[in-house]
Amino acid sequence: MSWQEYVDDHLMVDVEGNRLTSAAIIGHDGSLWAGSETFPQYLPQEIAAIMEDFDEPGKLAPTGLFLGGNKFMVIQGEPGVVIRGKKGAGGVCVKKTNMALIIGIYDEPMTPGQCNVVVERLGDYLNDQGY
């Protein structure tokens, strides 16, 4: 399966009538493995900041999580594994796997819980596969 197929068929899926706004699979070094059409143009330093937060949980909380200039307020995640952010009624979920970051951005009416389930499910699967 190509990475693009992972994004299209496993991340941008229909969950109880809702869909993620955009999603992507990005390597730890910031390289884009695959992304949906509307995924924001992110900067390398934003990915670096996310990686730092996984190593040292709490680094992003005071300043916020940035993705392509969009600012998300960091909320409860799972230290070292998942970072969750909120932006108004939507937000983002970032799951770290062995070699990649799975990022899902959602907006109303999708709920944070639905986004988490989609992103983390793929992340767990990729972890099992070694990615």
């Binding site: 109880e16 709490g58 909380a61 005071p62 300043t63 916020g64 307020m73 960091v74 909320i75 409860q76 799972e78 969750r84 909120k86 108004g88 709920t111 944070p112 819980g113 988490n116 389930v117 983390e120």
Partner: protein, 364 residues
């Protein structure tokens, strides 16, 4: 079927069918007595039997005895609220800050496997207390029986990095009061549960530190008759209970007072939120309902070192009088009306598929 909201605390369990704008229908103590003969347990006041052990089901906000908790919930859900076996509904639990993951998983497991609920949701007390006053952002100071939580909340999400939890609460204030009363009434033996009642009747907060000092030297003693007939005098001890929250050295803790804790907690949040957080501060929890506490808090806040003055939130008029005590339950009732119809909760099917870890993904 209406959802049920349960707010278990170190002293009292508040439960009932979710009905916003009203007090929780059932408020039951969480201390239980276990009769050792046949391993039976009774809730609240059981009749005195030969061998009894007092069991603290909830300690410092977290469940410590799961068997007792199961029996207590069984009693509340089936006897008080009137659920029927085979037709259980949906349930929403409140939880304190920093609940360990395994405790959440254990609770969700208990509810789905033993009680067979059809839906489950859990939310932090800080967020719920703000919902009860009609806000989604603000800072909650929850002074309960077993713990004090200071939590800045932005748009319904707690800032865990900035929040603080203290392992001090009403129970420590009761012990302090017991010590002080013993000193001034050396010949009288006072039971700790009587001290608890005395604390609720007499404890006051001096209006500021200077007045507290004055009270130490000249005060109006009052006579109080204990249930067993002994008479004790209470004077300056009543003020020490309230003072301890503003001067923790009294309790032997090397911490700042409660107002400084609030300010330092908020300073850990991005600065654009400071104004919104400090101007929407909410005091809740049983101990915060002490006479004079709110006034003292406000006056200490006015002289605090922060540029923005913390201001206390005014509850809406349609809410019952003692909102502060039960705000977490009421907020839970409000949230239950939103979460369950929109299917944001954990359903039995999802639990069966993913297991207890689903609670971390769906409930926050």
């Amino acid at each position: 079927m209406e959802a049920v909201v349960v707010d278990y605390g170190s002293k009292l369990l508040k439960a009932g069918i979710a009905s916003p704008d009203q007090d929780p229908p059932y408020i039951i103590p969480t201390k239980m007595k276990r009769v050792l003969e046949e391993g039976e347990e009774a809730g609240g006041d059981g009749t005195g039997n030969d061998e009894e052990v007092m069991v603290d089901t909830v300690v410092r906000g977290f469940v410590s005895d799961w068997d007792a908790m199961e029996d207590l919930l069984h009693h509340v859900l089936y006897t008080n609220i009137g659920w029927e076996i085979g037709d259980e509904g949906q349930i929403l639990f409140t939880e304190p800050l920093f609940t360990p993951k395994y405790l959440r998983e254990q609770l969700v497991q208990l509810m789905f496997e033993t009680f067979n609920v059809s839906g489950f949701y859990a939310s932090e007390q800080a967020v719920l207390s703000l919902y009860a006053v009609g806000r989604i952002s603000g800072c909650t100071i929850d002074i309960g029986h077993g713990k004090i939580d200071v939590a800045p909340v932005c748009e319904g999400a707690v800032h865990h990095m900035a929040s603080k939890r203290f392992e001090t609460g009403g129970v420590d204030l009761t012990n302090l009061l017991a010590q002080e009363l013993q000193k001034s009434n050396p010949s009288v033996n006072i039971d700790i549960s009587d001290v608890e009642k005395i604390k609720e009747l007499y404890a006051k907060c001096a209006s500021d530190q200077i007045e507290f000092e004055k009270m130490q030297n000249s005060y109006l003693p009052e006579q109080h008759t204990l249930p067993d007939g002994q008479v004790i005098t209470i004077g300056k001890e009543r003020y020490i209970v309230g003072e301890a929250l503003f001067q923790p050295q009294i309790l032997g803790l090397e911490e700042y007072g409660i107002v400084e804790q609030l300010v330092s907690s908020v300073s850990n949040v991005a600065s654009e939120y400071h104004r919104q957080l400090l101007e929407n501060t909410m005091l809740c929890g049983g101990t915060a309902a002490m006479t004079g506490f709110e006034k003292r808090f406000q006056s200490e806040a006015n002289v605090s070192a922060s540029a923005i003055r913390p201001a206390l939130v005014k509850p809406p008029e349609y809410m019952p009088e003692n909102l502060a005590r039960n705000s977490a339950w009421m907020g839970g009732a409000i949230l239950a009306k939103v979460v369950f119809p929109q299917n944001q909760h954990v359903t039995k099917g999802e639990y069966d598929e993913t297991g207890p870890a689903i609670v971390h993904k769906k409930c926050f």
